[in-house]
């Protein structure tokens, strides 16, 4: 009921103002008296968010401790500064996890990233609405399967006892086991990612395609542009903001290649090819029991990941795109 009575200087100067409700400059006590039901509504969420996200985050302090789970605990263990981080960079396993992670990211930027775009172009070009929505339903479906299922399905197809090996053997050839071959592992994980997620990833590009003004195509066609020139001069520029945004986000997320997919296949393929950041944290920390060392690896990943995201967003702004958190 607080009507926006003041006119901001920006509005007087003729600048566009956001059509958001003006922030009431009421006293905090008045606002508390008015908004307490909202606080009650937020309370369960806050309990969960703080109780299982922010409070445990403080536990990262053990990365700087000689953490003794039983005799010292988080309050009684000796502070050792950056010792664990120094050890990390002398640890060949950690360095391999780092290079594997970055290698897989680079590979997937080239071989996974374009797939949802091509899929969206294909879906968008289908003129029969029925066929299009059928295909959409089919390609979205695997997104809802767990990695356990996806890997089980791939095993049954490409594994040593899988359908392809079985068919090869019945026809007098040797079977091939892609599921345990470290040399082709990067291809395997990328095709699994494509199978599972590329369809759902196409949604955002489909939305961008639908937002392109059809008059542009018509005008271009009237001016004599063929379908390839329309693709190049209208469709791709229309997709550019989304592509740039997602590409930058992916690069900012370079240390994240997913955990479950690698963890589940680590014993079959061996750690040489399949050790990534997150599996390293699990094995060095929880499996071996060096909680402080594993936490240091996890914290390193978290901090570098945060810096990369912030840097990526900065780059997005420099390129004139909206980035991730341009608002407020």
């Amino acid at each position: 009921m607080t009507a926006p009575t003041t006119v901001s200087p920006a509005a007087e100067a003729g600048e566009p103002t956001a059509p958001r409700p003006a922030k009431p400059k009421t006293h905090w006590r008045t606002r508390l008296g008015r908004d307490w039901p909202l606080l009650i509504m937020a309370a369960p969420m806050m309990v969960l968010v703080w109780g299982f996200w922010w409070i445990p985050s403080l536990g990262n302090i053990i990365a700087f401790q000689d953490y003794k789970p039983y005799s010292g605990g988080i309050f009684g263990s000796r502070i050792v500064g950056f010792t664990h981080f120094q050890h990390l960079f002398a640890d060949p396993d950690f360095l391999r996890a780092l290079t594997n992670t970055l290698g897989i990211t680079a590979f997937q930027v080239v071989f996974y990233f374009p797939v949802p775009i091509m899929l969206a172009l294909l879906l968008h070009s289908i003129t029969s609405g029925r066929l299009r929505s059928t295909l959409q339903s089919v390609v979205y479906l695997p997104y809802f399967f767990s990695w356990v299922l996806v890997i089980a399905i791939f095993q049954q197809m490409l594994g040593g006892a899988g359908l392809i090996s079985q068919t090869l053997r019945q026809n007098g050839f040797d079977g091939i086991d892609w599921m345990t071959d470290p040399d082709t592992f990067i291809l395997l994980v990328t095709s699994q990612a494509v199978w599972k997620d590329a369809g759902f990833g196409a949604i955002i590009f489909l939305a961008a395609l639908a937002a392109i003004d059809p008059n542009l195509y018509e005008a271009a066609a009237v001016d004599g542009a063929g379908r390839w020139r329309r693709l190049w001069h209208i469709t791709l520029p229309g997709l550019r903001p989304v592509i740039v945004l997602l590409l930058i986000l992916r690069l900012g997320d370079a240390l994240n290649v997913g955990f479950e997919q690698f963890f589940l296949q680590r014993s079959a393929v061996g750690s040489q090819a399949s050790e990534v950041f997150d599996t390293f944290v699990y094995y060095s920390g929880i499996r071996v029991g060096d909680f402080d060392y594993g936490a240091a690896a996890g914290l390193f990943k978290g901090v570098v990941g945060l810096i990369l995201i912030l840097a990526a967003n900065r780059v997005a702004h420099m390129l004139g795109e909206r980035g991730v958190y341009s608002r407020s």
Binding site: R31, L38, M41, F52, S133, S137, L149, I151
Partner: protein, 294 residues
């Protein structure tokens, strides 16, 4: 239904062929494995043995032998019940908490709004890390408790933001008139906002339910008692690892036959396949995209 515009040239024969072939290939790559798994789960043990792996040709008849065997296996049956329980309970908790929280966040300028919003939005870029959460959940005494699976994943910042964006797009006049009529916040949420937001709530419910149904790693970390394991974890042990359950409480279960394994895979897939069509239509309406862009 999009129809070809008058100015658009007729598609070339090669273009049409290429498009047709890619559509068929995509469908095959996704659906064929599912078909082979379904057929194998419906085949008799002899057929599977004779074929020497997955059954692809449907000539040998259909039997529910494997499913009967699976449901006689107490481990699988129990795991199925556990998964249903975790999924139902967790989803209910998550959806209620997220709708309430998102509604409270949909009112800029209210008391504490910035602090609450910030502690949710920051979840997108700052993560507590596996080990601190593991130690914390263990320290809370939640080991071997189903709450250890549910609580750490109960609030998804993404889902809250999706709901919030939708709530914020509801015309302000509706709230104003309800408030003039004397409705409190809870009543506005229940009688005005929720009925208008059925689509987005359905989508968020699906996301949460799928996350709970698929989760096996929390169970793997916190449930030492294999008798409490959910289906996804049993699936991992039986099918991906091809191993018997470790120290299965008094049960000496041999790893099941291929047909039974495929029946377990089918049971793990089926809920997603059943619920999915009801919710899928909302994807197209841009429920998610609107939120992602906003």
């Amino acid at each position: 239904m999009t129809r070809r515009a008058a100015w658009e040239e007729k598609p070339t024969v090669t273009g049409r062929a290429a498009k047709g072939v890619s559509i068929v290939l995509i469908m095959l790559v996704i659906l064929f494995p599912l078909y082979a798994i379904a057929l194998t789960s419906l085949s008799s043990a002899e057929t599977v043995h004779r074929v020497g792996g997955l059954v692809v040709w449907p000539g040998d008849g259909i039997t529910f032998e494997a499913y009967e065997q699976m449901f006689r296996n107490p481990v699988v049956l129990r795991a199925l019940m556990v998964s249903l329980l975790i999924t139902a309970g967790g989803t209910l908790l998550s959806v209620v908490v997220s709708v309430l929280g998102a509604y409270s966040l949909s009112r800029p300028g209210s008391f504490g709004h910035k602090t609450i919003l910030f502690s949710v939005l920051l979840m997108f870029v700052v993560f507590p890390g596996l080990i601190p959460v593991y130690l914390w959940v263990s320290a809370l005494g939640l080991r071997d408790n189903y709450l250890a699976i549910i609580l750490p994943m109960a609030v998804s910042a993404f889902n809250v933001v999706v709901l919030r964006a939708f709530f914020m797009n509801i015309p302000q006049e509706l709230f104003d008139s309800a408030r003039i009529d004397g409705a409190g916040e809870f009543r506005i949420l229940w009688q005005i906002v929720t009925p208008l937001s059925k689509a987005v709530i359905a989508v968020v419910t699906l996301f949460y339910a799928v996350a709970y149904w698929n989760n096996w790693f929390n169970a793997f970390l916190y449930l030492d008692d294999t008798g409490k394991w959910p289906l996804a974890l049993v699936l991992r042990t039986y099918v991906v690892e091809s191993a018997p359950l470790p120290q299965a409480a008094g049960l000496t279960e041999a790893p099941p036959t291929l047909a039974v394994k495929m029946a377990i895979v089918m049971i793990a897939i089926v809920p997603a396949v059943i619920i999915y069509p009801f919710v899928q239509k909302h994807f197209k309406k841009g429920v998610i995209i609107g939120a992602v862009k906003g």
